[in-house]
């Protein structure tokens, strides 16, 4: 039995890996110009832009957050729904034609376990079984949902053998447009960009079920919604990204795109204080300084899990909830990255909680 299982899961691994890779492949071929381009100067319109943008090649809704259980334990969680348009537009009239592929990841960081629990789903959009709807946030694969109600509240439902989430996320602040009013550059090339907005300080309330034991939770979450047709520079190796809900009500997001030679290809950062004033940091103002490197016992990859981030005058120190927050899905989707709940310190003081994402550390991933 275990043999059979590993055989099938290996296959699923390579299958999903190739989807992920293809989806996130940075280099766009000339003939793929049928996707809508990301151009500066576009004004995001809501609620339409909460919804899906099927003309763009790739899109994701990405929620991370810290939760407190009714037993006062801390948990980190992450739920991502990806949408990717199939590489070539075909005139196939079949309802099964794979025009859009929906992928969902869900993960739980439980310090009591000391490791990640992770599950995922992939399906072609169609038959109302999987979709990413236009007009407002409404994404679904089978019994996994991510939906925005007209009142602005988000509902997440994830059911898996390993865990279930039933969460409602209520905004407490206005949305935060990243980059130039939502036009977020990702590389030295002006085409390397996405439309990007965040919703920080979402109030989370709901239930998380582990081993058939439902626990009610509450906490703070961060939502990113990003869509693009061309995003990563071909020279890119991966990225480091962090977002944090700071205790004073401000929201912080910083990322850098790493080149294959270890250089910084691009970086950006923004901090919005509780009053809503945004400070932006340009690429040359930002520095990521690894403080402590953790070697994954699973993949032998080296992750700078403790990081100092300098942006202009400010400097923050990120300390992980625990080290082993590596998302090792070689047994399934094949993607390997570190996606962890972190505590943010400034001048030795705990000033908030966030998430750090470190990709491309195992191999020069296309990710």
């Amino acid at each position: 039995m275990p043999k059979k299982y590993s055989k099938s899961s290996n296959l699923i691994a390579s299958l999903l890996m190739m989807i992920l890779l293809a989806m996130l492949q940075s280099q766009l071929r000339a003939e793929d110009q049928q996707y809508a381009p990301v151009v500066p100067g576009y004004t995001l319109v809501f609620p339409q832009d909460y919804g899906s943008h099927p003309d763009f090649r790739i899109e994701w809704w990405y929620v991370t957050g810290w939760l407190e259980t009714s037993e006062n334990k801390s948990l980190g969680f992450q739920v991502t729904f990806f949408r990717t348009a199939s590489p070539r537009h075909s005139s196939n009239p079949s309802r099964f034609a794979p025009q859009q592929i929906i992928i969902a990841h869900a993960a739980l960081s439980d310090p009591a376990l000391g490791r990640f629990i992770y599950d995922e789903k992939t399906a072609r959009a169609g038959f109302e079984l999987a979709y990413a709807r236009e007009g407002d946030t409404d994404v679904k694969i089978d019994d996994w949902y991510f939906k925005r109600n007209p009142d602005g509240r988000y509902i997440i439902e994830v059911k898996s053998d390993k865990f279930s989430f039933e969460l409602s996320l209520t905004p407490t602040q206005s949305i935060m447009l990243q980059g130039e009013r939502g036009f977020s550059r990702k590389g030295p090339n002006i085409e390397q960009a996405s439309y990007y907005y965040s919703e920080p300080h979402l109030d989370v309330f709901g239930t998380i079920t582990q081993q058939d034991k439902p626990i009610s939770v509450r906490g703070r979450a961060w939502l990113d919604h990003e869509w693009s047709s061309e995003i990563l520079d071909p020279r890119a190796d991966g990225w480091d990204w962090m977002s944090a809900n700071l205790d004073d009500g401000s929201a912080l997001m910083v990322f850098r795109i790493r080149g294959k030679d270890g250089s910084k290809l691009w970086a950006y950062g923004a901090r919005r204080n509780a009053a809503g004033r945004i400070t932006q940091f340009a690429s040359d103002q930002i520095e990521f300084i690894p403080e402590r490197v953790w070697e994954s016992p699973h993949t032998k990859a080296h992750y700078p899990v403790e990081m100092r981030i300098r942006a202009g005058e400010a400097e923050w120190r990120l300390v992980p909830l625990f080290d082993d927050q590596e998302l090792d899905s070689r047994g399934s989707s094949g993607a390997v990255y570190w996606e962890g709940a972190v505590t943010v310190f400034q001048n030795g003081k705990n000033i908030g909680k966030g998430y750090l994402e470190l990709t491309g550390y195992l191999q020069p991933l296309d990710l």
Binding site: K7, L16, S90, N92, A123, F127
Partner: protein, 853 residues
């Protein structure tokens, strides 16, 4: 000296003396066991592989949902996927597509294609996922790509990156071979592609062929299934994998069982050989046994001694048989891939597994028949009265005991009664039992009959002899045969068994072949048949193409035929529905009707007639005049069975209906095949040329009815190749029997010949006497074998075949072939007798006579 040493001395001494005879007996057993065992091994391996291959296509699903008509609306998929209790639903579109290229009937290449959604299939049947090239990772979703199993690549001579062309209706479709399906079972020829692309490219838009379900943990499968079946209605059925296996098993079971029966025939003849060897051996050693008795051997010990001999022979023969059988099976699988002439198991590559239970069974059967052949002679040896036996070479009384005619008569009568019984679980168990009883009864009656016959002849020629009109030798021959039927019948039983079985098989096969030939003539009345590959659920010819075909001036008449598969019973294979114009005034003009039928004038106008094949009568209980409901078009419709026709093409049943009825019920105006009749002045060449000028000529498969007929008969002959092989083996075993029994008899009778020489019979005359004895005996055996074989053939034709394969046939007798084999047997037996005789009369006359003392 202890008993076992003595026992082994006796054994070895005996075997050294008659090495050849013992070898032949052992070989006969070995051949019988080997045949049975290898057929069993090959069939089991083929079946297991076949069912594993079919199962692997369904992956690890709990339930599968099918439609009775093959394809169904895809909107069932979201319904099932969201159904309470369903954890995962995997939609599959499965069909076969014709590979473009030269077509000539038999060489038509059809590939099974599975359209899958790889995201769903990954969790249910991951082995079916294609492996794309490194730089073409999205090919699994591509709409121009297909993945081939290694066996399919080899078969079609294509590799990754090549283009593969298919016929879709009258169009040609080129798909890129994007990679392999490497995890399917070896030898399995399949292609896999994206389900959306398959629907589009092969015209199956909106259709699925099955949905595989994985249920939530804790869901009771049977309850769920019943509930689902109720919700889905009669158009659908829900199966579990085990049932599919049962269905596959039922598809090939009749074929497998009948083949095993043929193997038993060889074993049966082998048993007679052992019997004759042992009987003659006991006869020869009467004085030896008598001496042993005098020296203190008990009857029991003597019995044990002879049975031990039999057991040793049986063990050696059976072991040898198992080894031979395994080797033979390995060879067959290596060379033919498990297809013993049937079409069931083609396109797979089975692995041979040494099946211990089966090996034990065949070993036991081999040993069993050997013991059977040993027990009677052993009992005879037990009866030896030492004083008498020591003194003179008294004739055996083995056969006298056997020849009480009543058990034999009982066998025959019971056999005849058994022929009246119905099949058991679709198998002609009683038919085979009747054959076995007939053989046993016939052979048991043999000595009595020989005595009657030769006494009768002797009685009639005696007068002629006293008139001086008859040679003394002839009289001597007849006198011996009439008065010592025991020994004669031993030789005869071998001839009788093998010849009767051979006659039976030969008559059966010829009757079958002639019937098939006649049937082909009847079902292929047109000159040309033009087919196009299916276009999705539809036949290849749409209305326009039908018009352009029918409009050709060369043809005096054109009929269009629509074929479809229906599932009437989920536990049985598909039934073929054939819609075509049937002469309603007299359906015999269109169909090979058997028995009574209803004319259209006898039907009320809203009755839709169907004509069903014989299999439908046996399998589904259809009878002429019965109203039946069939899933045609959307929903079930009522039809009246208007006649029954003979069909050798579709063992699992076929239904014919008027094309107009079909079109009215389904709205489907497409057809698969056009039957074309040439005008009297038109030539075939002109017709071919005209057809090749059609815009869609490339996609047409044009066959002359003559070619189809020839191809069909070729396939027929190939399927019966195994039978021919078994017939030959039966004949060889029979001849070996004659050789053994004669040579042993000759040795035993050397005293008799010495005596004859003493009273003035010349050597030549003794040889003539032997030759005459041999040929007369064989002739009687052949004649009786013919009668017995004839009766058995009737059972095969009128009971075994209809019960196993649901078709009837007309009786035809291959006189020339039978006469030839009879002549060969006669000559061979005479020559054998002569050769054996030469040895017997070559010794010194004096010594031969002296042995009497």
């Amino acid at each position: 000296m202890n008993t076992s040493t003595l026992s082994s001395w006796l054994l070895l001494g005996e075997w050294r003396a008659r090495f050849m005879q013992v070898m032949v007996a052992v070989l006969a057993i070995a051949i019988g066991v080997a045949l049975g065992f290898s057929i069993h091994l090959v069939n089991t391996a083929a079946f297991n592989e076949f069912s594993a291959a079919s199962k692997s296509l369904s992956g690890q699903s709990d339930l599968q949902v099918y439609s009775r008509q093959g394809y169904f609306d895809e909107l069932l998929y979201p319904r099932l996927a969201q159904h309470e209790g369903v954890r995962l639903a995997n939609p599959v579109l499965e069909f076969t597509a014709r590979i473009s290229g030269e077509h000539n009937g038999e060489n038509e290449r059809k590939l099974k294609i599975l359209g899958i959604d790889m995201f769903r299939a990954a969790r249910i049947s991951p082995d079916l996922l294609g492996v794309p090239a490194e730089d073409q990772r999205m090919d699994g979703l591509a709409d121009d790509a297909v993945f081939l199993s290694p066996a399919a690549m080899e078969w079609l001579q294509v590799g990754q990156g090549d283009l593969l062309r298919f016929n879709v209706g009258t169009q040609t479709l080129a798909l890129r071979v994007a990679g392999g399906v490497t995890r399917v079972r070896a030898g399995q020829r399949i292609a896999v592609m994206d389900i959306g692309a398959a629907q589009w490219r092969f015209n199956y838009l909106g259709l699925l062929s099955r949905i595989e379900l994985k249920l939530d943990a804790g869901i009771h499968h049977d309850v769920f299934r019943k509930e689902l079946e109720r919700k889905l209605g009669t158009q659908f059925f829900v199966t579990e994998l085990e049932e599919q296996e049962a269905r596959l098993a039922s598809m090939s079971r009749a074929y497998r069982v009948n083949l095993n029966m043929l193997a038993l025939v060889a074993l049966f003849t082998g048993a007679f050989l052992v019997f004759s060897t042992q009987v003659l051996s006991v006869m020869r050693r009467r004085s030896q046994f008598a001496l042993l008795r005098v020296l203190g051997f008990t009857r029991k010990q003597l019995m044990l001694q002879i049975v031990t001999e039999g057991i040793v022979l049986g063990v050696i023969g059976s072991f040898l048989g198992l080894a031979l059988g395994y080797g033979f099976a390995a060879l067959v699988i290596q060379l033919f891939g498990g297809d013993l002439g049937s079409i069931f198991f083609s396109g797979i590559q089975p692995d041979l597994h040494l099946d211990l239970v089966a090996a034990l069974v065949y070993f036991a059967v081999g040993l069993g028949v050997t013991l059977l052949g040993t027990v009677l002679p052993a009992r005879d040896a037990m009866q030896i009265k030492p004083a008498v036996a020591l003194k003179s070479d008294h004739e055996s009384n083995v056969i006298e005991r056997l020849s009480s005619p009543w058990p034999a008569f009982t066998c025959l009568v019971v056999a005849l009664l058994l022929t009246q019984l119905p099949p058991v679980a679709g198998l002609p168990v009683f038919g085979y039992l009747a054959i076995a009883l007939l053989l046993i009864g016939g052979i048991a009656l043999m000595p009595r009959f020989a005595a009657w016959f030769f006494s009768f002849v002797l009685h009639n020629v005696k007068k002629r002899f006293s008139d001086g009109k008859l040679n003394a030798i002839v009289l001597m021959v007849l006198a011996r045969l009439a008065n010592v039927p025991g020994q004669a019948s031993v030789a005869l039983s071998g001839v009788l068994a093998s010849f009767s079985l051979m006659v039976a098989m030969a008559i059966m096969v010829l009757s079958f072949r002639v019937s098939v030939d006649n049937w082909l003539e009847h079902v292929l009345p047109a000159d040309l048949y033009v087919r196009a590959a299916d276009s999705g659920k539809q036949g290849g010819f749409l209305a326009d193409e039908q018009k352009s075909l029918a409009g050709q001036s060369l043809f005096s008449r054109s009929d269009f035929l629509r074929y479809q598969q229906l599932i009437l019973d989920p536990e049985r294979p598909e039934v073929t529905l054939i819609a075509r114009p049937v002469d309603s005034a007299d359906p015999r003009n269109t169909l090979p009707i058997v028995g009574k039928f209803i004319k259209s004038s006898q039907l009320s106008e809203h009755d839709r007639p169907i004509w069903v094949s014989e299999a439908m009568v046996d399998l589904y209980g259809y009878t002429v005049g019965k109203q039946v409901r069939l899933p045609v078009g959307n929903g079930m419709h009522t039809f009246v069975v208007a006649g029954i026709w003979r069909d050798y093409g579709r063992q699992f049943g076929a239904v014919q209906m008027q094309l107009s009825d079909y079109q009215e019920l389904t709205g489907d105006m497409s057809v698969n095949t056009a039957a074309l009749w040439l005008r009297s002045q038109a030539t075939l060449d002109a017709a071919y040329r005209a057809l090749q000028q059609l815009p869609y000529a490339d996609a047409l498969e044009i066959t002359q009815s003559q070619t189809i007929r020839n191809t069909s008969l070729q396939i027929f002959d190939r399927s019966f190749a195994v039978t021919y092989l078994l017939e030959i083996i039966a004949v060889i075993i029979g001849l070996l029997g004659v050789a053994t029994s004669f040579s042993v008899q000759m040795l035993a009778r050397s005293k008799e010949f010495g005596m004859l020489r003493h009273i003035g019979v010349t050597r030549k005359q003794v040889l003539a006497l032997l030759a005459a004895e041999g040929s007369l005996l064989t002739m009687l055996g052949v004649v009786l074998g013919f009668i017995l074989g004839g009766i058995i053939s009737l059972i095969l034709i009128f009971i075994v075949n209809p019960q196993s394969f649901h078709w009837t046939m007309q009786l035809s007798i291959p006189w020339d072939w039978l006469l030839l084999v009879a002549a060969i047997m006669l000559v061979a037996a005479t020559v054998t007798a002569l050769i054996a005789g030469r040895r017997a009369v070559s010794g010194s006359v004096v010594r031969a006579v002296r042995e009497d003392w």
